[in-house]
């Protein structure tokens, strides 16, 4: 079974608002305000793939291929996947960095998946941790004509496809999907990303990563935009956060609790 995991890099989401800056001209976060990391839900997707391979040991051989789209620096996300023992990693070279239009990414991934044929399962994060589009997985499934299930946290392989547990508004659902399938992955307590071993990280740092180019995958670039109505990013703004906190003080916890309830009554909340 071949599993493709699509990964991308984002600006570290742990950067506090006080340190966050924008690059108005690039219409993106300013460079250098923090590290780039693998997008949070892509890490969950890698974890789901790794656990599937472990569970299938002895039943079926599983190959995990990590894909990313971006400039040469995007290979860092692939090295993370390799350090977690993904079997292969391929960089789809695109001059532009993020945010890339969802349809462009989906069309490039589709071409790469077809080149990797046969592929049984594609996993990607439910949305990127920076632009929160949440469309690439669905676009990819539509482009390929495959089953698609969103907000999946657990997957099992069955004789005729997959059983996927996915989150819903009220709880969760079990969905049976045909093979091949696309699943967009969300976090839960069963897919918390593991940390790589130091030895594997060093090996991944030295790995040679193949690069596939847009011309070899899809021919002219205009073909990427087919079936797309492109949204234009006019600007980014930082919303003003003007809040003055009222600290509840007191000599004892009793006093603080009483003062809090009093403050809430004054604000007519209680």
């Amino acid at each position: 079974m071949r599993i493709v995991v699509c990964v991308t890099q984002i600006l570290d989401p742990e950067i506090p608002p006080s340190e966050f800056r924008l690059d108005a001209e690039r219409r993106a976060a300013a460079e250098g305000i923090g590290q780039l990391v693998v997008s949070i839900f892509d890490e969950n997707a890698l974890e789901v793939a790794l656990q599937l391979r472990e569970r299938m040991a002895g039943r079926e051989a599983v190959e995990i291929v990590a894909l990313t789209v971006g400039p040469p620096s995007a290979a860092d996300a692939l090295r993370r996947a390799l350090s977690l023992r993904a079997d292969r990693a391929i960089l789809i070279s695109s001059a532009e960095g993020p945010p890339l239009d969802g349809i462009v990414v989906a069309n490039l991934l589709k071409a790469a998946v077809e080149r990797l044929h046969p592929v049984d399962l594609i996993l990607c994060g439910r949305e990127t941790g920076d632009w929160h589009g949440g469309v690439v997985g669905s676009f990819l499934a539509e482009a390929l004509g495959w089953a698609c299930v969103n907000f999946v946290s657990r997957i099992e392989v069955t004789d005729d496809g997959f059983l996927m547990r996915r989150q819903s508004d009220e709880g969760w659902e079990i969905v049976r999907a045909t093979r091949p399938a696309v699943a967009t992955i969300t976090n839960d307590d069963t897919n918390v990303p593991r940390l790589p071993k130091v030895r594997d990280t060093m090996m991944a740092a030295r790995a040679s990563i193949p690069v596939w180019t847009i011309p070899e995958l899809v021919g002219e670039e205009a073909r990427l935009w087919e079936t797309s109505g492109r949204l234009q990013v006019r600007e980014l703004i930082i919303p003003s956060l003007s809040k003055a906190i009222e600290w509840i003080e007191g000599e004892t916890v009793q006093e603080k609790a009483a003062r809090l309830v009093q403050a809430l009554r004054e604000r007519r909340i209680l």
Partner: protein
Amino acid sequence: MRVILVVLPASEIGRSEREAIGAAHALAATLGGEVYVALIGPAAESGVEQRGRTGPTSEASTVARAFFVAHPLLREYAPELYVSALEQLWATVRADVILFPGRTIALEIAPRLAYRLGAAVATDVIGLRAEDGAVVITKPVYGGKAHAILVAPRPPVVLCVRPRAFDPVHGEVIGGDAERIEVALDLTSVRARLIERIREESATGMALEEARIIVSGGRGIGGPEGFRLLEELAQWLGGAVGASRAACDAGWVPASWQIGQTGKKVAPDLYIAVGISGASQHVVGISGAKCIVAINTDPRAPIFRVADLGIVGAYENVVPILIEEVKRLRAEEGA
């Protein structure tokens, strides 16, 4: 004439549906044009059935035209069938904007519909207006640290609005006549079938999205036992219990309790954040709260920058006393 079509794929008309219609009216105020609503699936069937029995209601509807897309195969949600039905609806109702409520099934349907229509799509929308005839969209990015202003230069554009970001409409959603839309569906196109559906119990029996008061716990709670204390407080306050991603990933509470960018978006009157550090992806889920109270041992925790009221202290000490104070208040009110 511009058409803003609100599609309601859930089986009931709730707050999220009313907010979506409210968002459509807000956009129509600057774009011009009319707001239409389409029910699809079980809600459409009950609409058809009700019209058959009683005829249209006399109450004025909030929308100009309404459509029922009913079909036996739509009784159970399957994205392939719902998207196909909506594609066929669009062939009849050439909307400039197709707008969905902030429901999980909408987040699944909207991108696939957009792909088939060759339309632009944006999810988690918190602002909508028109400028020079183009639709201008605001959505949070970078975990809510910034807002992106996006422009859809040509129709159609498909949108999912964020829950609690728009004011809901009141009154009869579909009061007047509704047209029945016939669709042809192919069962063999279904590649993902629902096998089982589980409702996760909320702590106090109240849904997070509806609660006026929410008590929420994070990593600082330290384990599932600590949440019992939060549940007790929520019970006495008549509220619901939520959690940060850290608490859910640790398996201390069900995933459906998660509040944040990728959990529930809530806008209660009172949000009490206990042992929650206040990462932006959590804070963006509570930005609609009227009053935020934070209880944390670390005075420099980011949650205090968005809180209205703050107590520095261990929750194990503070919350039990708070419960006593609330009990006392309730007793006084009862007397």
